[in-house]
C-alpha cells in the first residue's frame, strides 16, 4: 500500500507530530526492555511496530498508554512534553489502546461496556446514541443493546474499537489485533481502521509480528529487536525479506524461521529448503481416532459439532483455525478435562473413556496444554513434584513416596531436557515460562506416549524456545508418536505439519496434505467457507 501522506515521511512538516517518543529506556531488573527507543506517530497514518516476542514493542506501547513508567526518555504530544502516569491519564491525553485480548465484560451489554472506565454521570441514552453514531459512521454494524456474551470475536473487537473511539482519541494503539480474527474479519478490521485514519485524522500504531499485515496496512514501519529500534521508515519501499531480516538480525533462511514470522513464500524469490521428507505412516491403524465428537457448553453453545479426525503414528497433523472454534474443547477432551455428548476417542484402536480423570493420560495421550498454568503444572509444587504429577507410582512403593528416588529421577530429567532451575526442589513458580514449558514437555514425553497433543505450543515463547519446541515435536513424530498440533498461528501449522486440517465451529471442514497446501483456500476455510461457497466471503482469494 502506498502512503497517501508521503510528505510526512521525511519528517518535514510545519505542525509537530501527534506523538513523539524520544529516547525511551526501560529496565526490568537486569533486562533492558527498551533502550533509547524513538518512535513518531503522525496524524492520518498507520504506523506499524514490528518485532518478535520480547523485542520490546509491547513495553514501548505500555509506556505510551501509561501502564509502564520509563526510566528515561520523554513523551511529546503535539510537540509538548507530557508525563503519562496511568491509563486514565493517557486517555485524558487522547491516547487509547485496543487490547490484544478483549477488555469487555461478557455479562454486560455493548453500551454498558462502552461506558466502563468513563467518569461522571451515567447517561445511558447519550451513550447508546453515540455507539449508534460511531457504528454507523465507520460501518461497524453494532447494536448497543446486545450482550457481549452473544457476540462473535470479530464483533467484540468492533465493540472494543467503539469503546476507544467514543472518547474521540487522537492516537489509537492496536496490540496484535488480528490474533483472534479470521482472515475476512481481519480485512474488515483494516478497512475500518483505514477509514478511522483518513476520515478521523487519527494517528494509529499497529503492533504486530505478522509481516503481511504490516506490509499491506501500514504507511510507516518501525522494527524493534532486543529492545532497540533497528530500522524505521516508509513501508512503501520495503519488502518482506528485508523486514524479516531486520527483525531477526540475520538472514532468514530456514523455512521454519520464515514461517514463524508469517512470511509465506509463494513467489519463490527465495529458496525454501524442505526440512524432511513427508513421514507418511506405514502403520495402518491410527494412533488416535476421534469419531464424531460432539460437545455442548453449559450455555447451550455447540463446542464440538461432530469432529472426526485420525492421527497416524509418526505424522504431525496440524489443526488450523481461528481462535474459539472448538480448539480449546478438543484439547480439554483429550486432557480428560471435558466430557462429550457423543462420539468416541480411540487410542491404538482402544476406546478411551472421556471426562474420566486421568483416563487420557493413562491411555497414552501426552498433552502440552495451551495454558500450562491452567492444566499443565502446579505452580506451588516443586519441579520434582511437577515431573511426577501424573504418575507418582513411579517414585513410590506401597503408596509411600520415596523422596530420594524422586529427586534422583527428577535430576535426570532436568539434565536430559536442559531445564534451567536451581534443582529438583525449586518451586515451579520460580522458573521462567520457557523452562516451565520444558518441565511439562519432560514429564509428558517421559511417559513414552502414543499420541502427543500440542496446543499453541509456542504461544508466548521467543525464537530460541520456539525452535526447541519445534524440534521436540518433530523428534516425537520421528520416534513414531502421532502428533496433533493445534494452533491458531497458520505459519506454525504450515511449518510443522505433514497434514493440515481446518477446524471451524467445532468441526473439521477441510483437509490437505502438506504437498498440496493452498494458502488462499486455507484462509477461506478458516473463515468458515467450504470450498464451494468461496464467493460468499470473497475478497481474500485471488
Amino acid at each position: 500500500m502506498t502512503s497517501t501522506h508521503d510528505d510526512h515521511v521525511g519528517g518535514e512538516r510545519s505542525s509537530p507530530p501527534a506523538v513523539e517518543l524520544i529516547g525511551i529506556t526501560k529496565h526490568f531488573g537486569q533486562i533492558v526492555a527498551c533502550d533509547r527507543v524513538n518512535l513518531t506517530l503522525r496524524r492520518g497514518q498507520i504506523h506499524g511496530v514490528l518485532g518478535e516476542n520480547g523485542a520490546g514493542k509491547s513495553t514501548l506501547m505500555k509506556v505510551l498508554i501509561g501502564l509502564v513508567l520509563p526510566d528515561a526518555g520523554e513523551v511529546r504530544l503535539h510537540g509538548r512534553t507530557v508525563q503519562i502516569t496511568d491509563p486514565v491519564n493517557a486517555s485524558a491525553h487522547g491516547i487509547a489502546m485496543v487490547h490484544q485480548h478483549f477488555s469487555l465484560v461478557e455479562a454486560l451489554t455493548v453500551w454498558e461496556n462502552v461506558a466502563l472506565g468513563d467518569v461522571g454521570r451515567l447517561d445511558h441514552r447519550h451513550i447508546r446514541r453515540r455507539v449508534g453514531e460511531i457504528s454507523e459512521h465507520y460501518g461497524l454494524h453494532i447494536n448497543p443493546d446486545d450482550r457481549i456474551a452473544d457476540l462473535p470475536a470479530g464483533m467484540r473487537q468492533r465493540v472494543e474499537i467503539i469503546k476507544c473511539l467514543r472518547r474521540d482519541p487522537e492516537v489509537l494503539v492496536f496490540d496484535e489485533p488480528t490474533s483472534v480474527l479470521s482472515p475476512s474479519e481481519s480485512e474488515f478490521l483494516f478497512a475500518a481502521l483505514r477509514r478511522v485514519v483518513t476520515e478521523g485524522g487519527k494517528a494509529v500504531a499497529l503492533v504486530s509480528h505478522k509481516l503481511p499485515e504490516i506490509l499491506s496496512v501500514t504507511d510507516e514501519v518501525t522494527i524493534m529487536r532486543d529492545g532497540r529500534v533497528v530500522q524505521s521508515g516508509s513501508t512503501g519501499g520495503t519488502h518482506a525479506s528485508a523486514l524479516a531480516k531486520a527483525m531477526v538480525g540475520r538472514s532468514v533462511v530456514l523455512r521454519r524461521e520464515h514461517a514463524a514470522f508469517g512470511v509465506i513464500e509463494t513467489d519463490g524469490d527465495q529458496p525454501v529448503p524442505e526440512v524432511a521428507a513427508p513421514r507418511r505412516p506405514a502403520a495402518t491403524e491410527p494412533a488416535l481416532r476421534l469419531i464424531d465428537l460432539s460437545a455442548i457448553g453449559r450455555d447451550g453453545r455447540v463446542l464440538l459439532g461432530g469432529l472426526t479426525l485420525d492421527v497416524y503414528p509418526g505424522e504431525i497433523v496440524g489443526v488450523a483455525g481461528v481462535e474459539d472454534n472448538g480448539q480449546r474443547t478438543l484439547g480439554d477432551v483429550l486432557s480428560s478435562l471435558a466430557n462429550i455428548e457423543s462420539g468416541q476417542v480411540l487410542v491404538n484402536g482402544v476406546e478411551v473413556a472421556t471426562g474420566k480423570a486421568g483416563a487420557m493420560a493413562k491411555a497414552g495421550i501426552a498433552v502440552i496444554p495451551e495454558d500450562r498454568h491452567d492444566s499443565g503444572c502446579v505452580l506451588d509444587f516443586t519441579v520434582a513434584e511437577n515431573l511426577f504429577i501424573a504418575d507418582p507410582d513411579r517414585v513410590s512403593r506401597r503408596g509411600l513416596i520415596n523422596m530420594a528416588t524422586m529427586r534422583a529421577k527428577a535430576t535426570q530429567l532436568i539434565e536430559q531436557f536442559s531445564i534451567n532451575c536451581t534443582g529438583p526442589n525449586a518451586p515451579m513458580w520460580s522458573l521462567s515460562g520457557g523452562n516451565q514449558q520444558r518441565v511439562v514437555m519432560a514429564r509428558e514425553l517421559s511417559h513414552s506416549p502414543k499420541v502427543l497433543v500440542a496446543a499453541q505450543p509456542t504461544h508466548g515463547l521467543d525464537v530460541g524456545a520456539i525452535e526447541y519446541m519445534s524440534d521436540q515435536l518433530r523428534n516425537a513424530a520421528v520416534a513414531g508418536v502421532g502428533v496433533l498440533l493445534i494452533s491458531t498461528e497458520l505459519e506454525e501449522i504450515l511449518d510443522l505439519s505433514d497434514r493440515i486440517v481446518v477446524i471451524y465451529n467445532g468441526r473439521i471442514i477441510g483437509e490437505m496434505p502438506k504437498s498440496e497446501v493452498d494458502i488462499a483456500r486455507l484462509g477461506l476455510l478458516m473463515g468458515g467457507a467450504t470450498s464451494d461457497a468461496t464467493t460468499t466471503i470473497g475478497g481474500s482469494g485471488d
Binding site: 533486562i31 480423570a357 520460580s430
Partner: protein, 391 residues
C-alpha cells in the same frame, strides 16, 4: 467459556519469553525475603494483637489491668496445679477439628461448618454410647467411631452437593451448622432420641443420659495433672496427617487437587472421589472431636446438652488457619487456644469478663493472617517487576 485474558495478564505470559532468552535466570530473590524480616513481621503483628486486647482491658473495663489478666490466664492455663492437664483435655478436640480442617483445606475445600459436624458427631456418640451393651472399652470405641460417621455424614452432604451440583461448600457447611444445632436440640427433647430418662435428669430438660463410667475415655495422671488419653491419640493423628499429606501418593494427589484442580484432573485425580473423601475425613475428625469431648470428661459430666459445641469447632477451624494448615504446627496452636480457654476460667475472680479470651484469640488469628498476606503480596510484586519485562 474460558476466562478471558486481560492485557495485563498477557503481559506476564509474553514477558516470560523475555526471561527465557536471557542467560541469567530472573528469579524473585527469595519467596520469603530474609528470615529476620519474617520473624520481625510476625513479632509486630503478635504484639499488636495482644496490645489491642490489653487496651480493651485497660480502657473499656474498670476492673483489673492487662498485667493481671495475662498473669491470671497464664495461671489458669498452665501454672496452677492441675491446670495444664485440663488444658490438654481441651486441646484434644481443638486439635482434632484442626486436623480435619487441614485435610479438606489442602484439597482446596473451605469447610467452615466444623461446629455443626462436631455437634452431630457428639450426638451420634451419645446415642450409640448410651444404648449399646458390651464391654466398656469396646462400646467406647464403637460410639466414638459412630461420632466419626456422624461428622463425616454431615460434612459429606456438603461435599456431595459441591461435586454433584456445584453448590459452594463454604455456604452449605456454614448453613448446616445452624441446622445441626437445631436438630440436636430437637433430639434432646425426645426420649426416643437423645433425651435422658426422667429419673436421670432431675429437673433439667435437654440433656442426654450420661455415659456409664466404664465408657469414659481413660485418664492419665502425671505430676498432679490429670488428662484424658484422647490428647495422645490426637497428637498421634497429627503425625499421621502430616505423614499422609507430605509423604504418600494419596496426600500428594490431595494437595494437587487443592493447588490446581484441572492439572489434577488430567493427572488422574478424580475430583469427586478425592474431594468428597477430603470432606468426609474433615467431618469425621470434627465428629471424633465431638465424641471425645463427650466421653473425655473435660466438657461437663459426660452428657450431651444443648449448645454442646461451645465454640470448639470454631476454635479448631481458627487453629488450622493460624497454623496455615501445617499439621505439626497445629499441635502448638491448639494448645495455645486451649490455654486461652482454660486460663480465662480463672478470670472470674478478677471480675474481668472471660470473653477477653475470645478477643485475644480473634485478634491473634487476624494478626497471624497479616504476615503471610504481606509477604505474599511483596513476593508477587517482585515477581511481576522481574518478569513483566520486554514484550
Amino acid at each position: 467459556m474460558p476466562p478471558q485474558r486481560s492485557g495485563v495478564a498477557v503481559t506476564e505470559t509474553e514477558a516470560e519469553s523475555a526471561t527465557a532468552t536471557s542467560a541469567q535466570e530472573v528469579r524473585p530473590r527469595s519467596k520469603l525475603a530474609s528470615t529476620g524480616e519474617v520473624i520481625g513481621l510476625y513479632a509486630i503483628c503478635l504484639f499488636g494483637a495482644l496490645a489491642i486486647a490489653a487496651a480493651l482491658v485497660e480502657f473499656a473495663s474498670d476492673k483489673g489491668s492487662w498485667t493481671t489478666v495475662y498473669t491470671v490466664i497464664l495461671d489458669g492455663a498452665v501454672r496452677k496445679p492441675g491446670r495444664w492437664g485440663l488444658t490438654l483435655g481441651v486441646a484434644a478436640p481443638i486439635l482434632l477439628v484442626a486436623l480435619g480442617t487441614t485435610v479438606s483445606g489442602r484439597a482446596g475445600l473451605v469447610n467452615i461448618g466444623q461446629e455443626g459436624q462436631l455437634v452431630i458427631g457428639a450426638a451420634f456418640t451419645a446415642y450409640v454410647g448410651t444404648r449399646i451393651g458390651g464391654p466398656g472399652p469396646l462400646a467406647l470405641v464403637i460410639s466414638l467411631a459412630m461420632g466419626v460417621v456422624g461428622g463425616a455424614i454431615w460434612a459429606g452432604i456438603a461435599g456431595a452437593l459441591r461435586f454433584w451440583r456445584n453448590v459452594p461448600e463454604v455456604l452449605t457447611t456454614l448453613l448446616m451448622g445452624t441446622v445441626a444445632a437445631n436438630l440436636v436440640g430437637w433430639g434432646l427433647r425426645h426420649r426416643s432420641l437423645l433425651l435422658a430418662p426422667p429419673e436421670g435428669r432431675a429437673n433439667r430438660n435437654q440433656v442426654s443420659q450420661p455415659f456409664a463410667a466404664d465408657r469414659h475415655i481413660p485418664r492419665v495422671t502425671l505430676f498432679g495433672n490429670d488428662f484424658p488419653i484422647s490428647i495422645l491419640l490426637a497428637i498421634l493423628l497429627a503425625i499421621v496427617v502430616w505423614l499422609v499429606l507430605g509423604r504418600t501418593v494419596v496426600g500428594f494427589r490431595l494437595r494437587m487437587l487443592g493447588r490446581n484442580a484441572r492439572t489434577a484432573q488430567r493427572a488422574g485425580v478424580d475430583q469427586k472421589r478425592y474431594g468428597i473423601g477430603a470432606m468426609l475425613v474433615s467431618g469425621g475428625f470434627a465428629g471424633l472431636a465431638g465424641g471425645v469431648m463427650l466421653a473425655g470428661g473435660d466438657f461437663g459430666p459426660y452428657q450431651l446438652v444443648a449448645d454442646f459445641g461451645a465454640g470448639i469447632g470454631f476454635a479448631g477451624l481458627l487453629a488450622a488457619l493460624v497454623a496455615r494448615q501445617r499439621a505439626l504446627v497445629i499441635i502448638f496452636v491448639a494448645f495455645l487456644f486451649a490455654g486461652l480457654r482454660t486460663g480465662s476460667g480463672f478470670l472470674r475472680a478478677t471480675g474481668v469478663s472471660a470473653r477477653i479470651a475470645d478477643v485475644v484469640q480473634g485478634t491473634l488469628v487476624l494478626a497471624m493472617l497479616l504476615p503471610p498476606a504481606i509477604l505474599y503480596l511483596r513476593a508477587r510484586r517482585r515477581a511481576i517487576a522481574a518478569t513483566s519485562s520486554r514484550t
